[in-house]
């Protein structure tokens, strides 16, 4: 058996091509293993409402039992599509969010609910800053997001 991800992703994709919450759009899903989603933050002055932030989802064979890998992509051609500034988002696009972590993940989440979580995490942000040690982390990190042990030191953000 080739894992359960195929069927489930097909169904999610079919659903997501219908109606999505405001500010969330599907950009492309070329092969079911990698999806691109665009986010807009509608009511936070830190993020102009016309800026798009692109998320890249990578699914393993065991999705949804295993969490997908979700990172922000920097689209250098368009400065308005940078990686959003947030104390839990490193400048290389890696997001520190408990539900994307092996311990925080639950198979009842889906692409839409992850997008909503990230969107609301940005919408409620008040700090115009990167995580502490961002430069050092971006320079030295070679691990995949799922293998990184984030310290959830600041649950208030």
């Amino acid at each position: 058996m080739a894992g359960m991800s195929g069927k489930r992703l097909q169904k999610e994709l079919a659903k997501i091509q219908g109606v999505l919450p405001p500010g969330i759009t599907l950009v492309s899903a070329p092969d079911l293993q990698t999806w691109h989603m665009d986010l807009r933050i509608l009511d936070n002055p830190l993020y102009p409402p016309h800026d798009h932030y692109r998320l890249k989802f990578s699914f393993s064979k065991n999705y949804p039992i295993e969490a997908p890998e979700v990172v922000f992509l920097r689209l250098t051609t368009d400065p308005r599509r940078d990686i959003p500034i947030h104390p839990h988002i490193y400048s290389n696009g890696i997001i520190c969010l408990d539900l994307l972590d092996a311990q925080g993940w639950s198979p009842v989440h889906n692409v839409e609910s992850i997008c909503i979580s990230i969107q609301s995490m940005l919408a409620s942000n008040t700090k115009d800053e990167r995580p502490p040690g961002d430069a050092e982390f971006v320079r030295s990190n070679r691990a995949r997001p799922r293998d990184i042990n984030f310290l959830y030191h600041d649950p208030s953000v």
Binding site: M1, M4, R8, K11, P64, I65, E66, W105, S106, V108
Partner: protein, 315 residues
């Protein structure tokens, strides 16, 4: 005659078996098979003696061989019995399940979804309730569960095809009957016209009447059959309550968590292996705390037995 010699050896084997000389009996049966390998009874007998000798792998092989010889429509209850036994086969159990699955696969390719489903279910139950020493890989439950689902879908699809085929015939037959009725009425008019009972105008009016009545009836017939055909209706959705919220597949063996949410057994087992928590509430949860949800299972069965056909394409 090879088959006669085989029959003789088989008889010797039967005698040895009755006397409790199992090794000798197996030997006679093997010789018989060597002479003539198309007699399914010899395989079933050897399966039986191998059961006594606790050579379970052989039991499975011989039973499958016996079923294979009898081929389509064979009533090989004995062989199926050996395969489906709730036996104390320990090391052979996983093999048995795999063999059953292979058998089910063969039945599927022969378009025998009923037999395939029963084998698949047996295999699923074998891995679900393994004997303590059985070597069941945790992945097996998921595999066999998916296979049961596949068999169910096939069974469903084949019944639907059969229904459509029969119904298609009925529709055509009714149309032919209506048409012959129309022809009779028509020739009746022609006769009356020839006898001079009716005038030209009246005759052509009656003919037009008959024609339009016929057309109307045929149209009506087609409408009725189309209405009875779910394929012509808007896609019927699978009710949400029988969908496993993890795989998005319809369930066939739902289990309930402490919080009252139900999941397909194989999926929630897979999740609990990685994270012993309730997927929705994140409270601690273990396999022992799951309970079968018989009510929901009945609802699932009802769905599988219902006439919804659209989802086969969608799901």
């Amino acid at each position: 005659m090879a088959s006669y010699a085989a029959e003789q050896l088989k008889e010797k084997g039967n005698v040895a078996f009755r006397n409790g000389e199992y090794l000798e009996a197996e030997d006679f049966y093997s010789q018989a098979i060597h002479r003539y390998s198309r007699n399914s009874l010899i395989f079933t007998n050897r399966a039986n003696v191998r059961l006594k000798l606790q050579r379970y792998d052989g039991v499975v092989d011989d039973s499958l061989k016996s079923i294979e010889i009898q081929g389509q429509g064979g009533q090989n209850h004995k062989a199926f019995y050996f395969l489906g036994m709730p036996c104390d086969i320990l090391s052979g159990l996983r093999r048995l399940s795999i063999a059953l699955c292979r058998h089910a696969q063969a039945q599927l390719s022969l378009n025998h979804p009923n037999e395939a489903l029963s084998s698949a279910l047996t295999a699923y139950n074998q891995v679900l309730h393994p004997q303590p020493a059985a070597k069941i890989s945790p992945k097996d439950l998921e595999t066999f569960s998916a296979f049961v689902l596949k068999c169910k879908k096939q069974k469903f699809a084949s019944r639907e095809r059969e229904r459509l085929r029969r119904r298609g015939d009925l529709c055509a037959e009714l149309e032919v009957t209506l048409d012959s009725q129309r022809q009779r009425d028509q020739s009746e008019i022609t006769l009356q016209l020839q006898r001079g009972d009716v005038g030209n105008i009246a005759a052509s009016e009656r003919a037009a009447e008959i024609r339009s009545a016929f057309d109307h009836k045929v149209a009506e017939l087609h409408t009725i059959f189309a209405a009875a055909d779910p394929a012509n209706h808007k896609a019927r959705e699978i009710p949400d309550h029988i969908i496993d919220t993890i795989t998005f597949e319809p369930m066939h063996d739902p289990v309930m968590t402490k919080t009252g949410h139900s999941y397909e057994r194989a999926t929630i087992y897979e999740h609990l292996k990685r994270s012993p928590t309730d997927p929705l509430t994140r409270e601690p949860l273990t396999i022992d705390e799951l309970r079968p949800n018989f009510g929901l299972k009945a609802a699932c069965e009802e769905f599988w037995d219902s006439g919804a056909s659209e989802w086969i394409i969608d799901w």
